[in-house]
């Protein structure tokens, strides 16, 4: 697969394995290798490197479709809600986003919407200090919808440009927790009709096929607008996002590449496809 050899059945099996180990999933891997095999035959392409390049282009074209930048409100306050399963990297990502937006000259506010997990509020407050932005918080155990309400009111009153709302991790199959996040979403919408302008789903790049279920159920619940793919600095490739883009049309907007405040990048489809094969 790496050389300049001719393409045969073995070659396409190896190609499928590269895709599988990138967490692309069986059906997507089969679909992609079949597509490339047919194209190679019809375009009379016989050289391995050329077929690999074709596959990279197929993947890039799936991912680049409507590579959406962050959605900002036309005027006034932009509200962003961050959601996802436990430990994916939500709180850390908000810290990075707060620093990025502050660096762009925006007036940023954070809201400690995780009122459940031990030291979740302290964790976000540390990020607030690092980024130099205020953090709205209630007591541990408070209603997260109340925190969201308070945060939107406060951000509006203080003329903030962007409000970033943290939420507790939750597994997408827990009905009561999904009801809770729907309530948070409703409360935000009630206070500001156009909000939230971004609902970011944080996906850990090490996650396997369960990511599809996460994307489906979180989108059903709160209308996810984009994905943040975290921990891409590890060895996992995050290939699940290809199937997610194909099936749900959800774009990856941002990528987490480390634990420091500056370790956040815009998603680049071409680079992603390149790394998939490295």
């Amino acid at each position: 697969v790496t050389g300049h050899g001719e393409v045969d059945d073995d070659f396409f099996d190896q190609l499928e394995e590269i895709l599988l180990q990138a967490d692309i999933g069986v059906s997507t891997a089969v679909m992609l290798t079949d597509r490339v095999r047919r194209r190679a035959r019809s375009e009379k392409i016989r050289e391995a490197l050329a077929v690999r390049k074709m596959l990279k282009e197929e993947i890039t074209s799936i991912l680049v479709g409507n590579q959406a930048p962050i959605v900002w409100a036309d005027h006034g306050l932009t509200v962003m809600l961050i959601v996802g399963v436990n430990g994916a990297g939500k709180t850390t990502t908000l810290g990075k986003l707060a620093a990025r937006f502050k660096g762009e000259g925006k007036r940023v506010m954070l809201a400690a919407g995780d009122t459940f997990r031990a030291a979740a509020i302290e964790q976000l407050e540390t990020w607030g200090r690092r980024a130099g932005v205020p953090v709205i918080k209630h007591k541990e155990g408070a209603d997260p919808a109340a925190v969201a309400y308070d945060a939107v009111q406060s951000a509006l009153a203080r003329g903030m440009d962007v409000l970033l709302i943290d939420t507790a991790g939750r597994l997408q199959t827990k009905v009561n927790l999904m009801e809770e996040i729907k309530k948070v979403h409703r409360v935000i919408q009630r206070e500001l009709a156009t909000a939230p302008h971004e609902v970011l789903l944080v996906l850990d790049a090490t996650t396997g096929q369960n990511a599809i279920s996460q994307a489906k159920l979180f989108t059903q619940a709160v209308g996810v607008t984009g994905i943040v793919l975290t921990k891409l600095d590890g060895t996992a490739k995050g290939g699940v996002i290809i199937g997610i883009k194909q099936e749900l049309g959800l774009p990856v907007k941002l990528v987490g590449v480390g634990e420091r405040i500056e370790d956040l990048r815009d998603f680049d489809a071409t680079e992603f496809a390149d790394v998939l094969f490295s």
Binding site: E17, L20, Q21, A22, D23, G25, V26, V85, N86, G87, A88, G89, G95, F116, R117, A118, A119, E122, Q123, E125, T126, W127, L171, Q172, T173, K174, D204, T206, T207, G208, Q209, N210, A211, S213, K231, D233, G234, T235, A236, K237, V240, E259
Partner: protein, 292 residues
Amino acid sequence: GLAERLQQTFQRLRGKGKLTEADVAEAMREVRVALLEADVNFKVVKDFVARVKERAVGQEVLASLTPGQQVIKIVHEELTNLMGGSNAKLKIGSKPPTVVMMVGLQGAGKTTTTGKLAGLLKKQGRRPLLVAADIYRPAAIRQLQIVGEKLGIPVFAMGDQHKPLDIVKGAMEHGRQHGNDYILIDTAGRLHINSEMMQELVDIKGFAQPQEVLLVVDAMTGQDAVNVAEQFHQSLGLDGVILTKLDGDTRGGAALSVRAVTGCPIKFVGTGEKLDALEPFYPDRMASRILG
């Protein structure tokens, strides 16, 4: 699920007469797809399916009236055997304290699980000490302290301005003085490819001489599970695995991958966010779950 798919495959194949080895090979494709969809690593799947095929080409399947069911039975048995017997016990050292070290990737559930384990030991009449050795993650020490408070278990901490190795040294001394028979070390999440951070674990292990080094793995981990488990085992040496977040709907194929590549037993599973949500690992239940 796999049962239905196998039944359809064999119905179609039997229509052509007696079953042959070639027919079984075709059925193995269905098994392969099912395991890949369950996130079992593709190399582990290859080896596993080869094993199953060896048994499946015998009379057990070929002469059966319900070959699909026979194949499922073989797959389930092989999965269960591979993942080993139920082994939900922590080792205990020849003289106290017994040291347990919790390691793994970022966000896997180490801090929560360390608390759960301490809670379990306390219920068993032990006197555990929790050690806050994560100096990197914001409020990590506070998180473990709050967990300790909720469980009524002491937490040894020196703040985040001391090296983790020094914190562990202090904790061992403290534990000895206070008669703690178990010392549970919560470490920072880290990448298996970060050699500095892996060396930190090697140094802590070298000093503390733990009876148990437990790899905490998120049950929804995909193909990367083998890379992580292999590297942690090679660099550090593991005694066991704890699989977390099994209260979700992930099939959990990572369990098979981790077991296959390290040979280590999965000792416990995390089944929730509350501090009592820790259960023994049952390989036959995991096998059913992986097969969907």
